[in-house]
Symmetry: C2
Subunit: 245 residues, 2 copies
DNA sequence: ATCGATACTGATTATCCAGTCAGTATCGAT
DNA sequence: ATCGATACTGACTGGATAATCAGTATCGAT
C-alpha cells in the first residue's frame, strides 16, 4: 500500500527500533525490518540511503521518544518532589518494555560509531540535565537544598545507569523476582537521592509514585499487590497503586 | 612459526581481545585477528571452531585477566580500608587502557548472545562479590560497620558501573580533562562509600590510593598460570588435524 | 636420518546481505 | 479518463567474509 513519506518513514523507524531491540544493532538486517513491515527491502532503501543511516535515524527516533516523556515529566505541575520521583522512575528500567536494552546496546555501538556516539551523548546529557532541572526546581521551591544540582544529577544519574544495567542484564525470566529487584533498586535510588539532597529519610520513598506506570506502559498491567519491601519494611510504591493509600 | 597449542591459543585470544577493543564485537573479523598476528585465517579456524566461539573465548579470557587482578587486590595484606580503596580503584576505568570499552560492548552483545551473557553475568557477580568480601573483611577487622555487605556492594557497584560508563563513553580526547573527570568520579565514589559504610568523611578519600597506577597498567604481567586451564570446553575440537576421515 | 604427528598456509568455496535497478502500482491533479 | 509523479516491488549483483581443505613446513621421537 502506498503511503506518504513522513508516515512511512516513522513506521519504518518504529519497526527498526523494534528489530534493534530484539536483535541488537550489530545483528539487525535490512531484511529483518522489511519482513517485520511486510514490505520489500527495496522500500527501505527508497526511504533511507543506507543501513547505517537507517540505524542512526532509528536510534535518534527512539531517543526522541524518551526525551519527550522526560520533558513532560519535568514540565508537569504538582509537588516538585513528586516530579523528581517521577523523573527518576522514568529513568529506571520498567519491569518490561523499557528502552534500556537499546541504550545499552547503543553504548557499545557508540564506542565505534561516531554518528551513534553523538546521539548517545546528547541523550545522556539530556537525562542528566533533566535531573538537574528538576532538582533545581525543587530547590527554588524550598523543598530541598542542593548547592550543586548539576553534580548531584551526575551522581544520581550514574547510580541509575548502574542500577539500570544491572536490572536489564542480570534479570531472569521470573517476573515476580524482577518486580522485586526493580522495587529494591528503586528504593536504593530514592534513598540515595534523599541523602544527596539532604532530605529526611522517607521523604522520597514515601512520595506516591503512582503516575509511573501510566507513563511507561500502555496498559494498566497486573497490580502487584504488596510488591516488595525495603530493608526498613516499608511497602514500596511501584506499579499502579490503584488506591494511593 | 610453529607453536604449541596452549601458547598459540592464548596468543590468539590476546590478539582477539585487542581487536575487539578497537573494533567492537560486532565488527571484529577473523581476518583482522589474523592480520594482527601476522598469520593466516586458517590458523584461527584450526584453533577455534567458529568465529562465535573465538569471540566468546576471548571475552572469557579478558574476564579472567581482570578477575585475577581483583582477587590479588582482595587477598593483599595491609589495612582493610586501603584494600577497599584498591578494589574500587581497580573497578573504575583508568585514564587509558582500561577494560571498560570491552565490558560495555559485551553488555550489548550479552543481551542477544547467551554465551556472552553468562560470562558477563559471572564477571559482574564476581566484582560485586569481591566488593562485598572486602567490605566484610573491613567489618570483621573493626574498620567499619556494615549490616549488609552484599547490599552495599550492589549499590556501590552500581555506582561504579554508572560512573564507568560515563567516563568511558562521554570522554573527550583531552587527557587533562579526562584525568580531572576521573579524579572527580573517584572522589564521588569514595565519598559514597564513606556514607554507605558509615565511615567518617575523608576516611577513604584520604587513604593513599597511589598504588593504583601500578596495578592497572601493563607491567610485565603476572605469570600466566592459567594458560593450559580448560575451565570450559577448552579441549580443541580440530577435525581436520588428524586427517582420519 | 626418517617418520609420523602436529601446526600452519593460502587459495578456494559457500553464504550472506547491502545496495541497485528496471519495472509496476497507486496516487492526486487536471 | 489521462497523465505525470510518487511509492513500491522483487529479482539481481557485487562485495565481503566465515569456513573449508588439500597441501606444506616444522617439530619431537626413535
Amino acid at each position: 500500500m502506498k503511503k506518504n513519506v513522513a508516515e512511512r518513514r516513522t513506521e519504518i523507524l518504529a519497526a527498526t527500533v523494534a528489530v534493534i531491540a530484539e536483535r541488537g544493532f550489530g545483528h539487525t538486517r535490512i531484511a529483518d525490518v522489511a519482513a517485520r513491515l511486510g514490505t520489500s527491502t527495496g522500500l527501505l532503501h527508497y526511504h533511507f540511503e543506507s543501513k547505517d543511516l537507517l540505524l542512526a535515524a532509528a536510534f535518534e527516533h527512539a531517543a526522541q521518544r524518551d526525551l519527550i516523556r522526560l520533558s513532560q515529566a519535568i514540565g508537569a505541575d504538582g509537588d516538585p518532589l513528586e516530579r523528581l520521583v517521577a523523573v527518576l522512575d522514568l529513568y529506571l528500567p520498567a519491569v518490561e518494555g523499557s528502552s534500556w536494552p537499546i541504550w545499552i546496546d547503543a553504548w557499545g555501538e557508540a564506542l565505534h560509531n561516531p554518528a551513534l556516539r553523538s546521539t548517545s551523548q546528547r541523550l545522556d546529557a539530556a537525562w542528566k540535565q533533566g535531573l538537574a532541572d528538576v532538582i533545581e526546581q525543587a530547590g527554588g521551591h524550598g523543598s530541598l537544598h542542593c548547592a550543586d544540582p548539576a553534580g548531584a544529577a551526575r551522581r544520581l544519574g550514574a547510580l541509575v545507569d548502574g542500577l539500570g544495567v544491572d536490572l536489564t542484564l542480570n534479570g531472569g525470566d521470573d517476573d515476580e523476582v524482577m518486580i522485586q529487584r526493580q522495587a529494591r533498586a528503586r528504593n536504593w535510588l530514592l534513598t540515595a537521592a534523599e541523602v544527596e539532597l539532604h532530605l529526611a529519610p522517607g521523604r522520597l520513598t514515601q512520595v506516591p509514585g503512582s503516575a509511573r506506570r501510566d507513563q511507561m506502559e500502555q496498559r494498566p498491567t497486573v497490580h502487584p499487590n504488596d510488591i516488595g519491601r525495603g530493608s526498613n519494611g516499608d511497602a514500596l510504591h511501584i506499579g499502579n497503586a490503584s488506591g494511593e493509600e
